[in-house]
């Protein structure tokens, strides 16, 4: 039970380290935006990776004070999980409703500051080209 819990905390922690929240864009932690179960499964499927995380999980169990952050930092720095989950993480993160919504909001703000332009403006802008098609 403890191992299962540690596994989840460590993997979620690493995910949050990989894509940290950012005050000006998204405050929510990445682990709250995407479904992390998938990533726990990916890691557990890889025997070597599973053993490595199990080692850290055991270390946490053995220590009196459960300093998850210390081990999360260590795993993140070692990049043991990164290679395995990076594509899936990018996919899930950048296609999540939350991030898409935030990105839309960001560009909507940009467009609010701009004047709406009509077709006459386009005609003015475009007429400067001189080329003529070859008449046969």
């Amino acid at each position: 039970m403890a191992e299962k819990k540690n596994f989840r905390i460590l993997i979620e922690g690493v995910i949050n380290k990989m894509i940290p929240s950012n005050k000006s864009f998204v405050v929510t932690k990445t682990s709250k935006i995407i479904n992390t179960n998938k990533f726990v499964k990916i890691v557990k499927k890889d025997h070597n990776l599973k053993e490595k995380i199990r080692y850290f999980s055991d270390m946490i169990e053995k220590s009196k004070i459960k300093n998850y952050d210390y081990f999360i930092n260590k795993i993140f720095r070692l990049k043991v999980i990164e290679k395995k989950i990076e594509t899936q993480l990018l996919q899930d993160y950048f296609t999540s409703k939350e991030i898409i919504r935030k990105l839309h909001k960001r560009s909507d703000l940009f467009f609010k500051r701009r004047k709406k332009k009509n077709i006459h403006y386009l005609l003015k802008l475009v007429k400067k080209g001189k080329i003529k098609y070859k008449k046969l």
Binding site: I100, L123, G129, I131, Y133, K135, L136
Partner: protein, 524 residues
Amino acid sequence: MRSKKINIIIIGAGASGAAAAWNLSEGENKNKFKITCLEQGPLLNKNSYSFNQNKWEIYKNKKFHIDPNVRKLKSDYPINDKDSPISISNFNAVGGSTILYSGHFPRFHPSDFKTKTLDNVGDDWPINYKDLEPYYDTNDKIMKVSGLLGDPAYPSMKYLFPPIPLEPAGELIGRSFNKLGWHWWPSYSALFKEKKNRENFTRSTVNVSYWPEALRNGVKLKTNSRVIKIITDDKKNAKGVIYINRIKKKKFLKANIIILACSGIGTPRILLNSKNKKFPKGLANSSGLVGKNLMLHPLGYVEGKFTKFLASFRGPTGCCIASQEFYETKKKEKFKRGYTMQILRGSGPLETAMQLKKFNKLKFGKSFLKEFFGYYGKTISIAIICEDLPEKNNFVELDYKNCDSSAMPGLKIHYKLSDNSKKMLVHGILRAKKVLKLAGAKKITAFGPVKHAGWHIMGTTKMGEDKKKSVVNQYGQTHDIKNLVIVDSSIFVTSSGVNIASTLQALALKITDHIKKFPEKYTI
């Protein structure tokens, strides 16, 4: 007494097949024909391939990947492109490659039909722009093409929906072209807004334009039905096709007229695979030109990174404006014919992140989002689409070592970039860099030819009046077999420097009009 109907089989339900099916089922003579279209792929739900869905950026790298060798769906066939710097991109389903196209919809120029006379390269078409013009107009209307009237690079057009807004990135580049005094024009795009969804543009695939009407008119569409052979009779006429149906059963279907609409690779594949004692080199191949003269559009890619946010991803995927300043042959240049510069809208968030990761410009950790926003919405790309000249050494042949799910041989592509194309590509890349630099790009990257750019496949069953030098006549009718007709881009004589959907559909409409008017010329 009721007169007997003429059985027509159309092979392929893509851009040209759909236009052909619709046209034959319309108008006065429509009751003369019984039309069946056989398509090797399925009929997809239109929401499944919508670019507007959040997950599209994932799907386009999986089941909707542009490369059939990566996708490997049942409906795909293997294409060995090891001997080509450009790999084939397509999609096999009802709708064909319009399922994945961005809807960029320019026409050929009048000069594209007369390259031999004008520039002493390629060959002249037996038809000209004026012959196709009414069909271009009809097609633009049905495909709901949007654009701005008055483009000096083209003869006047009739039915265009209002142009797609340029957005800041397009305007910036437009100004840059103005400073240089070079031609540019908002893109012609088969994109429209649906009543239900006013926010996004919908691509006008043939599944939403031609097919609904053709099916209402009584055309029978058989999906998951792969034609493997066309059968001929003792008098050297086509008598029907053998196809594999969805439950993998071999079936024979009789026809009076057979129309091939399977693209520049699918059509020669069937013709070559249909060889028999009377046609030992493959059907309609007395000239030996089936599969030869393969033309692909070599593509150059130039990307500029700007410091300010331009929201360059805004708007529908694809081309925003096009410049045809270097479209025609210029005496002072070292190459003949020319190219179009297409200014593309920026990529979505996932593609941006994946590309940055690939080139080590995005690292996980504290700076991840900062690095991401350093690029997202701040890049503008220009694609150089070069006219490719026909050459016999560029060809496709059957690949008996790699067969598809129906045991039909796949294809092998033999293709090399000509010196003319190489020079054109370099010229285009340098000019695109100039445009981006003038627009204020701080960093510019470029490469070419782009590998996954073989969308426009042409020339493999060339059109012409001389049966020794071509496969079909100007009506798409094969010289060797009266009741065998080709309507796809394989009959193109030259390639032009623009996307081909508009022209191949106009041609399909023209050819099928002729069949409607003079069916006796095609029947036995």
